[in-house]
Amino acid sequence: MNEIERDREVGTAWRAASREEPPPALDAAIRAEARRAVGAAPGRERSKHWWYPLAAAATVAVLAVSIVQLMPPEQVAPTVVAEQSAVPRAAQNEVARQSAGADARLAAPPPAAPAAPSATPTPRAKMPSAPPRDQGVAGGAIERERAAAPAQAPEALAKKQLAEAKEEAPARAKLAQPPPEKPDAAPAATFGGISAPSLPRSEPAATSTLMKRRNPPPTRQPAPQRCKLRVAPSERRKWKAGSRQRQSRTPTKRKPRTSARSASRTGSSGSGI
């Protein structure tokens, strides 16, 4: 047996003879201390900072609500509608101004035509009431108009309306001045350079014929067609009012009625503008 084997033999004998263990109570105390040292620190940390994620979530929620409240309710759609209706509105305002000037001229004169002021407010009240209808059309058919009509359609429409208003202004002035002998023949003499006999004023077919001549079919587009439909009834009413005024035997009875209607329409138009 060599020395190394003897050393191993001594070691084995020692390990077999030395079997002491620490007391169980000491084991439990050390293990508890080890668990407390490891588990307590993260626990304290967790209890100390438990509100961090909650505070972050609350901050995000408050910021989101604030941003939503600060933002205007609809930003994109009204902008599109405004772009679409800006030029027609301007044109309609111009037309309204033109017609207002004509109405003023109509309303000013004649003692011989007392019903004229009562008849003229009708288009004035009618014109401002047009924008809501146009807005509805524009709001509902923006995409269709963009697809169908070229981008310059509203401007062309406005120019046409202005031209029509300028053309109609002398005719209205003539309509407002009733001829002394033949009241029915005077307005029918000329209207926009068109001979009167070809225009039976009370029939829609004649009006559509007139509008066809003003707006030839090859250049007609959807938006101008709406303009034609919008303008034609007012003119028809004006013409009718003029003819009634001239044909009426008791014009004083209609005056308060039409003035009340015009007043109510004016009020609505004021809000509409």
Partner: protein, 203 residues
């Protein structure tokens, strides 16, 4: 993640440093006996050994975050125990020597598991042999005893013992040679009988 039983000491210590209390349990179960016996053989008082033992493990718990696996875990652990022993020696002012009638020694002898055979004569012989072996170890010089205990209880190599005790490897080798030789000379022919009897007692 492997089971704690199959993990190395270093992995267990790192796991415990990262918050795994079960890793400490496995580590403690592996080394509690060796550290306790090392301290018990050196200070020779069970109560003092228990206090030192607790201090060593508390130091380990406190130093868990600074542990770096640059060396074996057992080297680090027994260095903690060695340093605590030095502090104890400095505080007490002298090295206590074990004696046959020391109370702690008697407790340690009584803690030896009895042989499985119920023969009173065999059990008395084994207890006598164990007592003589402990007495022979206690008679060794402290440096030789420490080197022997670090090798047998801690399982440290010569280099690790040399590093821990701040001496050269040859010095450690010499100390171990002297220690084993004295034990053998003290026990004589009874060493083999002691070994066989203890093996029988442990089953």
């Amino acid at each position: 993640m492997p089971a704690p039983a199959t993990q190395s000491d270093e992995d267990l210590m790192l796991a415990y440093a990262s918050g795994d209390a079960a890793a400490f349990d496995a580590l403690y179960a592996r080394h509690k006996g060796g550290v306790y016996r090392y301290l018990l053989r050196q200070c020779r008082q069970a109560g003092v050994a228990a206090d030192l033992f607790q201090d060593v493990w508390m130091n380990l718990i406190r130093a868990r975050s600074s542990y770096a696996p640059t060396a074996k875990f057992t080297t680090w652990l027994y260095r903690l125990a060695h340093n605590r022993l030095i502090d104890h020696y400095r505080a007490s002012g002298h090295l206590t020597l074990v004696s046959a009638d020391d109370e702690a020694h008697q407790d340690a002898v009584a803690a030896i598991p009895a042989a499985r055979s119920d023969e009173p004569q065999s059990r008395a012989e084994n207890r006598e042999l164990s007592e003589r072996l402990r007495a022979a170890l206690a008679a060794l010089p402290p440096a030789q005893r420490e080197a022997f205990l670090l090798q047998q209880e801690g399982g440290l190599s010569l280099a690790e013992i040399a590093e821990l005790t701040d001496v050269g490897t040859e010095t450690v080798k010499s100390r171990l040679r002297y220690a084993v030789g004295k034990l053998r000379a003290e026990l004589g022919g009874q060493l083999r009988d002691l070994d066989d009897g203890l093996r029988e007692g442990l089953g």
